[in-house]
Symmetry: C2
């Protein structure tokens, strides 16, 4: 692996000082911002995440804020998920599609009020798409990236840690709901959500200057809980089937190919830009779809498509892979053609280190 060269373009976050002090060893870049990838080792971070509690700098989940009389209309234009029943205080995972039904992002929409939304984005400049659509349709809406930076608290001891800093009321936040909670006189959105299957919260930290005081308070309050700086963990997220935009899907994929059909209500999502393009695939289903793939390990790091083969025939590709300590196998996410996507189908995956036996699974590991 090579080093990452610092520059202003790879934006630091309100928590970067804390991340560095905790001895971050690796980064990726996400929304033009630094995202830590490893502190001790990916395996050690994984073990700790499953047993204790971690604080994650996920400021790179930037917000696209929609504000104004046309905010709700615009939000529905962006996604085939029917948002009519969504209430302020709720978070919805929303596939965002272009006019062809291709995925532009897979963010979490946060409904702050009828006329105010945050879109907590994955790795693409969704702001540009949203601004372009709003301008083209002359909508009455303000669109901007506010100074709001998510900090995640993840792991089985998350509730205990959060209660110490924000009070016991945080325990009552239901999954994908949020409330406003005070810290040092400022109010922050706190949601029960996060990019792991170990439970936890995301604090939408309001204001760069509030970042390090909160980081430090969480570290201090959780000392006896063995709190550590952490980050989204490659192994755990694959085991849990958490997709990564840009890795597991991109603009060439429909939500249905990504297994996100349950988040689409294409028939009733009136106004959605990609609605017409998606109606047929919403009814008939896709011809390829994301699957959990078990691979005979050990597998190398996956930094490119690995072809999934049935003999000489290419039937799909692996896009994320890791070696799972808990399941004692290579765990992977791949896109597989309909002809070969049934659970139990035996395939071969061609990795840069050579071919490996692979098997399509019924479900992810958790």
């Amino acid at each position: 692996m090579a080093l990452i060269s610092p520059s202003r373009r790879l934006r630091r976050t309100p928590f970067s000082d804390g991340v560095e002090a905790a001895g971050v060893k690796g980064y990726t870049v996400y929304n033009h911002m630094l995202l830590p990838t490893v502190f001790h080792s990916v395996e050690e971070d994984y073990r700790h995440l499953k047993e204790a509690v971690q604080v994650w700098d996920v400021a790179c989940e930037r917000q696209v804020e929609l504000r104004g009389p046309d905010a709700a209309r615009l939000m529905q234009m962006l996604t085939p998920r029917d948002l009519r029943g969504m209430l302020p205080g709720q978070c919805f995972y929303v596939p965002i599609v272009d006019e062809t039904g291709g995925m532009l992002n897979d963010p979490v929409a946060v409904k702050l009020a009828e006329d105010r939304w945050w879109i907590s984005i994955a790795d693409s400049d969704l702001l540009l798409w949203v601004k372009g659509i709003a301008y083209g349709y002359r909508l009455d809406v303000l669109i901007d990236e506010p100074d709001v930076s998510p900090l995640a608290v993840q792991g089985p001891k998350s509730d205990d840690l959060m209660a110490r800093v924000f009070g016991d009321a945080v325990r009552d936040i239901r999954f994908f709901r949020f409330g406003w909670f005070e810290f040092q006189g400022r109010s922050h959105v706190v949601a029960r959500s996060g990019y792991s299957k170990q439970g936890g919260f995301e604090i939408y930290v309001d204001g760069t200057d509030a970042g390090m005081p909160l980081w430090n308070a969480l570290m201090e309050a959780g000392r006896d809980l063995d709190v550590r700086a952490g980050c989204p963990n490659l192994i755990e997220r694959i085991e849990g089937g958490l997709l990564s935009y840009g890795n597991d899907m991109d603009r060439t994929n429909t939500p249905h190919e990504c297994g996100l059909g349950r988040f689409c209500n294409t028939a009733t999502a009136i106004g959605c830009v990609g609605r017409d393009a998606l109606l047929r695939v919403a009814t008939d289903g896709p011809v390829r779809q994301i699957r959990a793939i078990e691979i005979e390990g050990p597998v190398p790091g996956c930094d490119r498509f690995w072809p999934l083969m049935d003999g000489d025939k290419r039937v799909g590709r692996v896009t994320s892979a890791a070696n799972s300590p808990d399941f004692g196998t290579g765990v992977a996410i791949g896109m597989v053609r309909m002809t070969h996507w049934d659970a139990g189908t035996e395939l071969r995956v061609d990795t840069p280190d050579g071919p490996r036996a692979a098997r399509v699974r019924e479900a992810f590991w958790i």
Copy 2:
């Protein structure tokens, strides 16, 4: 510095195998793609760039292709530069602005034909803005990212190296013009352009599979010219005043603030989305502008805004900085308020390593 974690999301390029074989030591991420930053050392790469010839993997300069009857209309909507006089075969540096006149990108537009353009982009997902505008205005135009990856040949011996591979006709290409040149039976756009002041070309390599054969041919043909793998060089580009989108400017800046007023014809750029917003600043001028800043060295790496101070008063900020061997000083790019932007103004810059004396220059170093 920390390591960069590989993943499919940080896309490899058609030339990555060559880059790795040449011993790349550092990367940045640009348009979700790996961009090498250093091979030997930034200083050694700099010296070699100025004396010999380098081959650069700049595949991360992705193309946004516009094709169809409304392509030219759409292209003019994107920029305040008047494109009416532009001919096929020309390249134009075009500030791209949003409806407020804020910079979204500073690409090179390549006019392939009246109804076919490439926009060779800096680091933002401009495709999403262009698609959004085209959809909102119901334009008859296809917009996509083709499988075209620029490979730059830069340095004083560029003409000699290119002539050996593409024939002597490449010597006749004028600055910011291009022609079609064959390599192994396939035709590629070759332009006299590039992100250095040392002269050279950019080959818009058509097709991933054509990448490594061309890379290898250039390396082979240039052996006695001391050809090496290289990359945009931080020191050289600051000396030459080559701006970097995301470092030196972003969506909060107008082209005029970036000193790009000479590329704007706001009055006659009919149809440009940001025209109304820019008319006044185009006439009156901006209240802050990019300047070359000389800093008493040595300076640390610049990965955040460095405040430019006049006593207690903040009058600007530095966004890129390096230590120049040739000029024996810290060289920097900064944005300075009108009250303090005159050449010779003495300022202080607050770096993370402490304050440094700084001086506004009349022009960049080259």
